[in-house]
Symmetry: C2
Subunit: 132 residues, 2 copies
Amino acid sequence: MHTDQQLLLDRLRLESTGVPIYVQLRDQLLSAIGEGRLKPGEQMPTMRQVAVALKVDLNTVRHAYGELERQGAIVIKRAKGTYVAAAPPKTDPDDRAHLIEGLSLRAIAEARSHGIEPAMVARRILKLSKGG
Amino acid sequence: MHTDQQLLLDRLRLESTGVPIYVQLRDQLLSAIGEGRLKPGEQMPTMRQVAVALKVDLNTVRHAYGELERQGAIVIKRAKGTYVAAAPPKTDPDDRAHLIEGLSLRAIAEARSHGIEPAMVARRILKLSKGG
DNA sequence: TGGTCTGTATGCATGTTATACTACAGAAAT
DNA sequence: ATTTCTGTAGTATAACATGCATACAGACCA
């Protein structure tokens, strides 16, 4: 197993906020893909590796991976492993605007719920995304 | 019922992402408090109002409100209603920087996972947050 | 006093989540 | 051929989430 994958596994976190484990895992892996820590065509940690790393049941991990596959983010190959999909799906303009709106509102709400100015988050995003 | 409360109710949204209803509600109400749409000492929408507005069961709303009370964000008074707590807890500067970083990275990742430029999200956040 | 509104509580039913355990089948290496 | 690793599948169990229905008790007002 690559140390890249070990780094990825080390970054997976579970929180007890009432959000199901498979949902947290699904979203964190989607983030890893989205921010290029997992590249198209690259192999992901196996379900068993994730299950061991997070100390959860294999079926729980499978549930998360199953949803990622249904989203088109990954490709699961029986007996071989699981791979990041070759081309992440593009969004069309209408969907895009909705997505931007939703992402923005969510980020704003979350910032404010912690007493943080959303503009500070926005500026940080601009700074980080230029560097990326 | 005040139109303020109606506006608040109108902004509550439920999504089918696998996150339980009570968690979504809890977090959205926490946002409303965090962004000043609900002020310390102010009465919240009643559990029944929220249940009706969101078309969910009273017990589900009660679950969310119960968690907010345990967090110290609200005070529930039997037979009278529910109120925003007098002094919402503050975040200290170290935590703040971490929170901003985390929120930003998460927003970036999610944008990218949908093939969206994070900067577009950032600009939308700036626009929306200025509008109040 | 009666009515209305509020949060509180309970029972039942259904579906979901997560775990543990077991086993199968395919792919690859020895 | 055997072993190891992989995803796939099934079963049973317990806890959780939600809805529905019902009822209680307190607060408030006419």
